[in-house]
Amino acid sequence: MKQFSLLSRRVAALFLAPGAILVGLFILLPFFWVIFVSFTNRTLLGRTALNPEFVGLQNYVRLFDPATFFTRGQFGSSLIITTEFVLLSALVGQALLGLLLAWLMQAIRPGLKRFVEAMVIGAWILPEVVIGFAWFAFLDYDNGTLNMIMRGLGLPPGDFLLQQPFWVIVIFNTWRGAAFSMMLFNSAFASIPPSYFQAADVAGASSWQKFRDIALPLIRGHVVTDLILITMWTFNVFTPFLLTHGGPAYRTELLSIYNYRVAFRDFEFGKGAAVGVIIMLINLVLALIYLSIGRRKSKAEKEAAT
């Protein structure tokens, strides 16, 4: 079968070349370079800066050394913090809050809906640094907005960044990312024919029953997509560094921040590359799990197929 094409192969290749070169140079090459470096003891300074040696799996073995694995500031501790951070701020915070907001928005007046959407998206489109600084200003002990409000209400002020750093970054990331989930679920709900909900209304269903029986099953694919995206983003997010610098005492040192410290503070490139490769593998596994959930057929579909 002859395929219709706009361009000859040669011209097409010419147009593709600039993009391909950039992608190759800045994405593909570093990708393989990192994997390669993770098997060496390359550093910035010292003897191994110029002549790195191939050390096999040594970097990986050290990361998983049981003696130091769970110590604060080590890889294992950072992995646990990151897992908790992803579960609480991405899955519970962003996805659940986004879903709830999107569902509530189905019932409100269009004008109010647009206003709420604009406010929530505002939190999402602002640059990372601006948001980091805004939250820093909000939470500051002496002059922070939150403590001014607390004092105004006669409540004792708190040094949140020092006392509850983990919860600060969880709330921060929920606030930051819920808009994306909300918008995604909002458009997913909007794609369901209104007559589905009207038929349920007439049949006597409550709002919760409509949500559980109709809305949620019909947007399952969107939920999976959302979870893949926000899990990846949250797993790799670096912005909490602007608030807490990973501290105090490594209590908010996420894997991305740990990776940054190892590679660009301690300048242990080999070890840092190994951390990067592990983060990449974790992301890959998570994506595969979500995709398999998304492809799984519902019970009714399975029964009907037999």
């Binding site: 024919p193 007559s195 589905y196 009207q198 038929a199 349920a200 209304d201 007439v202 049949a203 006597g204 269903a205 409550s206 029953q209 029986d213 109709i214 099953p217 019909l218 519902s298 009714a300 579909e301 029964e303 009907a304």
Partner: protein
């Protein structure tokens, strides 16, 4: 089952008035069709009975209960949607039983009831299928089954047959007719298909621009259309409407129009009143009351043949008059007539309808109720 009453109901969307001060009373066990062109307010009226729209002003009663501000789920009503609104992720059994599920019935009980209803509607063997795996006619019956599965005071139908092909539509129409009379259900049925309304309804409410133009049994709508709008909307093809100039003569009414040969019509008080306002009347004759007549016949209208459509049992013969307007006759003939040939269509005086200059029907003297 219960009655439905509209009390001066108005519904506006922004500056658009969808329903304008409608009064309507639907008796217990009646099958009422809301008939009209798109945008006439029939669907909005139905959705206000369901509670999917709230009237801007006025009141709606179901039985003796004022339901004007009540949520749909508290109204004890059923509705069949134009697109069926079947849930694509549930099999037919779950779709049909969904109203029972939200009422907290057990799985055995609701599936048992779904099976009963499905058997009546002849979809009992399909209960494990998904909506996407069955035909349009079966989907239609599934959505009907979902409406019938629980006790309901009023059954609402929003153009339920419009997505079916012609043959299935006839079949489903007959079935609905039987079911409604069998169950004695109060039904409100929205359609733009006048044949559907004629076949199903005990009374038809013809709507135009948010108002009810005529509310009467089908036979009355057909025989005594209240306005030229109703006359033109009901009937297939619609009634021929010919503008005529009226005059008195020897106590008789004389009507003249191009190509029209008409003896005197009896004068009536209605005509006399109408003539005081204007001499311009409208003459209406249904296509089925016209026959091909000899040239020069009395009580006839003539023109040149515009089209001759043979439908099998009958033909639609359309003539074009000198002013370009057309008159169609439905006749039982398969004679070949040349395009452009002179054709005279005759009628008998008892089938003549008269409308005044505002389009309202002029009743004959001493007209008995049908």
């Amino acid at each position: 089952m219960a009655s439905v009453v509209f009390e001066n109901v108005t519904k506006t969307f922004g500056s658009f008035t969808a329903v304008a001060g409608v009064d309507l009373s639907i008796g217990d066990g009646e099958f009422v069709c809301l008939l009209g062109p798109s945008g006439c307010g029939k669907t909005t009226s139905l959705r206000m009975i369901a509670g999917l729209e709230t009237p801007t002003s006025g009141k709606i009663f179901i039985g003796d209960q004022d339901v004007t501000g009540l949520h749909p789920k508290d109204r004890q009503i059923s509705m069949v949607f134009q697109d069926y609104a079947l849930y694509p992720h549930m099999n037919l059994a779950d779709n049909i039983a969904y109203p029972l599920k939200v009422r907290g019935e057990s799985v055995e009980k609701r599936h048992g009831r779904a099976r009963e209803v499905a058997d009546v509607l002849k979809i009992g063997t399909l209960l494990n299928r998904l909506p996407s795996q069955i035909s349009g006619g079966q989907q239609q019956r599934t959505s009907l089954a979902r409406a019938l599965v629980y006790p309901s005071r009023v059954y609402l139908f929003d153009e339920p047959l419009s997505n079916l092909d012609a043959k299935l539509r006839l079949e489903a129409r007959g079935f609905l007719n039987h079911l409604q009379r069998d169950m004695g259900m109060t039904a409100v049925y929205v359609t733009h298909d006048q044949a559907e309304a004629m076949a199903l309804a005990t009374r038809i409410a013809v709507m135009d621009q948010g108002r009810i133009v005529q509310y009467a049994p089908p036979i009355e709508i057909y025989r005594r259309p209240a306005t030229t709008f109703v006359a033109n909307f009901v009937g297939n093809p619609p009634m021929n409407l010919v503008p005529v100039e009226a005059a008195h003569g020897d106590g008789q009414l004389l009507l003249s129009a191009d190509g029209l040969a008409l003896g005197g019509l009896p004068m009536s008080s209605g005509v006399a009143t109408a003539l005081q306002a204007s001499k311009a009347l409208t003459l209406g004759i249904r296509p089925e009351h016209l026959t091909v007549a000899a040239p020069g016949a009395a009580n006839a209208i003539s023109g040149k043949l515009f089209a001759n459509e043979n439908m099998g049992p009958e033909s639609l013969v359309t003539i074009e008059r000198a002013d370009g307007s057309r008159v169609t006759a439905r006749i039982f003939t398969d004679d070949h007539i040349e395009l452009g040939a002179d054709v005279t269509l005759g009628f008998s005086l008892e089938h003549v309808h008269l409308f005044d200059s505002t389009g309202a029907r002029i009743p004959a003297d001493g007209e008995m109720p049908l």
